[in-house]
Amino acid sequence: MSNFRIDRIEGTAIPVRGHNIDTDRIIPARFLKAITFDGLGDHAFEDDRQSMPNHPFSNPAYTGASILLANENFGSGSSREHAPQALKRWGIGACVGQSFSEIFLGNSTTIGLPCATVTAEDIEALMSAVEQAPETRLSFRVDASSIEMIAAGRRVSVAMPAAVRESLLSGQWDATSLLLDQFDDVHKTAAALPYVKGF
């Protein structure tokens, strides 16, 4: 199965401030008790929203946002893909932050949710602009490796691992078909492994 290419996400943004926001916070474990990902969007940041009345995910000004802005090590902790699935189902189409945990970044990529990094100064500028004017529209470009505040005409560069960028642009972010492409090679590799041969 091939996928559509992902080259740009345009829309308003939602800033989620704080370092090391772990996947237990993005989607608490009790919502993993299900055999589908359906309905996860409604529970994104559920417990944080209860304890922080001003949580951006409760703020109507950010309804409909498609770009999530984050600080350092966003998505750390559990490998639950439910975290990016919840964000995607809430309406997020791309995440831009100072850094992401590796597993979160991998999970996001394979479901077609690009994550890109920017410097501390740039994220601060983006976050404060959006906080002051939530209607600010941003254009995130995978092809140009940039994010732009459209009205202000201010553009900053974003970084993505080359393979991630390539897989989004070529529509190969869902790896299954790629991995099955040359399946004879898989058998060859396996057959050469001492433990597969029984030593």
């Binding site: 893909e81 597993i103 070529s170 991995l179 040359q182 492994l193």
Partner: protein
């Protein structure tokens, strides 16, 4: 030759370089459980794809399993639904399954090694971030998400980027009452919870060489808490002795041949690392977390830190947020913090040696009257072995509950959980907000012996004072 174990394993398992630039890596062992796989199997069905190597796949059930009443159907309908989905999937695709009714069931990261499925030099994937545990054997073991579980089911491969290697040498003998848990908490406190991003951690040094496999598993288990997706220890005689005679380990002549190959997979003496760091094992004391990520820990004799004195992850705001959530004051000693619950369990510290150390502290004492204390063995096999040594009686006489095997209070996807603002002394691996089931519950991570000591004292206390 001057390669690390990671490079050797990587090269042998590389199928090809993908057009995206990633490596297509063959997975020698795919471990699956009930939480992260139902959607993956559904995606396979939708695409009309089968499981490529069912004989390289092994299933267990752990996260949702009640540890008190395991009668089917489970009282929790959602848990029952997940259990049935796993049963249907393993039946349909011919996958081996350590079912609840068998004596092999347990936490996925406990049973893999116990059954001899986890071996040096192999690649392992599992839809769980603590898959890093298996690196204790010199395996290269990745935690993956559900779509990658689908990839591995479909192709027995992962599309993945190479990692750098940081060698962490811990030298010198650990003091009495100081355990692997304290070592890894110290490492994470020093290098930070994101210090390992992009790296595999290779644990070495005399302290690690002297550790049992159980202890090495504790260290590798928490690699991910330091941001490192994998952690490993080079295989040695301790590794081989552990594997000898295990159900799925090679036997007879094959074991001798396997040993030669395993040994050859260890990092070469002149291997080049992307980074190296050293710790003095003799200087490490029992550690306790005071905050909301596993990097926020102090030695038991130290005070809770001040936001002004920030560590590697430490911006002041994070420390303030943690103190706020925990309701702790900077500068007060961590020792003496009152606890409501004591939990010995989880894939970090629920193996036989963990239970033995906790029992050693508990023996002849009573759990403090205001503390709810439970011991949850990591697997049925651990539970049985502990019972044959009489550990269950020691715990129960002291007032601990003795439970069935599972993840239990580590993440509260089952009936075991914190309530309200309870403080839990826990031998698990994550002190994230809400992790143990109550959005306002508070977790203090520590070694099983320290948990046992806290249960008895009713507050955080230095276990070294109780081990004579």
């Amino acid at each position: 030759m001057s390669q690390t174990l990671l490079q050797k394993v990587w090269d042998l398992h590389t199928v090809r370089r993908l057009p995206t630039g990633q490596t297509q890596l063959f997975v020698g062992l795919h471990l699956i459980h009930e939480v992260t796989t139902p959607q993956a199997f559904d995606m396979l069905r939708q695409r009309g794809i089968g499981v490529a190597f069912p004989e390289r796949t092994y299933a267990t059930v752990d996260h949702i399993v009640p540890t008190l009443d395991q009668q089917r159907p489970f009282a929790d309908a959602l848990a029952e639904q997940m259990m049935s989905a796993l049963e249907r999937n393993v039946r349909e695709y011919g996958i081996r399954f350590a079912d609840l009714g068998t004596d092999r069931q347990g936490i996925v990261h406990v049973i893999g090694p116990e059954l001899g499925l986890t071996q040096p030099g192999i690649t392992i994937a599992c839809g769980d971030s603590h898959t890093s545990t298996h690196g204790a054997f010199g395996a290269v073991a990745f935690g993956i998400g559900t779509s990658q579980v689908r990839d591995v089911l479909a192709s027995q491969c992962l599309a993945i980027d190479p990692l750098k290697v940081r060698r962490i040498a811990v030298d010198g003998a650990l003091g009495p009452g100081v355990y692997a848990k304290d070592v890894i908490l110290e490492i994470i406190a020093r290098l930070g919870v994101r210090g390992g991003v992009g790296y595999a951690y290779e644990y070495a040094g005399t302290a690690v060489e002297q550790m049992s496999m159980d202890e090495r598993m504790t260290i590798c288990n928490m690699s991910i808490e330091g941001g490192a997706r994998i952690g490993y220890v080079n295989p040695d005689e301790t590794t081989f002795a552990y594997l000898d005679g295990r159900s799925f380990a090679p036997a007879g002549d094959a074991f001798a041949r396997a040993k030669r190959w395993w040994r050859s997979m260890a990092s070469d003496a002149d291997a080049v690392y992307d980074d190296e760091t050293r710790l003095d094992g003799t200087a490490i004391e029992p550690r306790v977390t005071w905050g909301i990520n596993p990097g926020q820990s102090v030695g038991v004799s130290e005070p809770i830190p001040d936001p002004a004195a920030a560590g590697p992850d430490g911006d002041e705001d994070s420390i303030r947020e943690a103190l706020d959530f925990m309701g702790f004051r900077a500068g007060t000693p961590i020792s003496g913090t009152k606890v409501d619950v004591a939990f010995v369990g989880s894939c970090t510290n629920s193996r036989l040696s963990d239970l033995r150390e906790a029992a050693r502290v508990v023996e002849g004492h009573r759990v403090s009257s205001h503390v709810k204390a439970l011991v949850v063995p990591g697997s049925k096999a651990v539970r049985e072995a502990a019972e044959s040594e009489g550990l269950d009686e020691i715990f129960q006489q002291a007032g601990f509950e003795w439970r069935g095997a599972g993840c239990s209070m580590c993440l509260a996807m089952n009936p075991d959980r914190l309530h309200g603002r309870e403080v839990c002394a826990s031998s698990s691996n994550r002190n994230f907000k809400g992790r143990q089931g109550s959005p306002t519950g508070r977790t203090l991570l520590m070694s099983p012996a320290m948990v046992a000591a806290a249960a008895i004292a009713g507050e955080v206390t230095d276990v070294r004072g109780m081990l004579s």
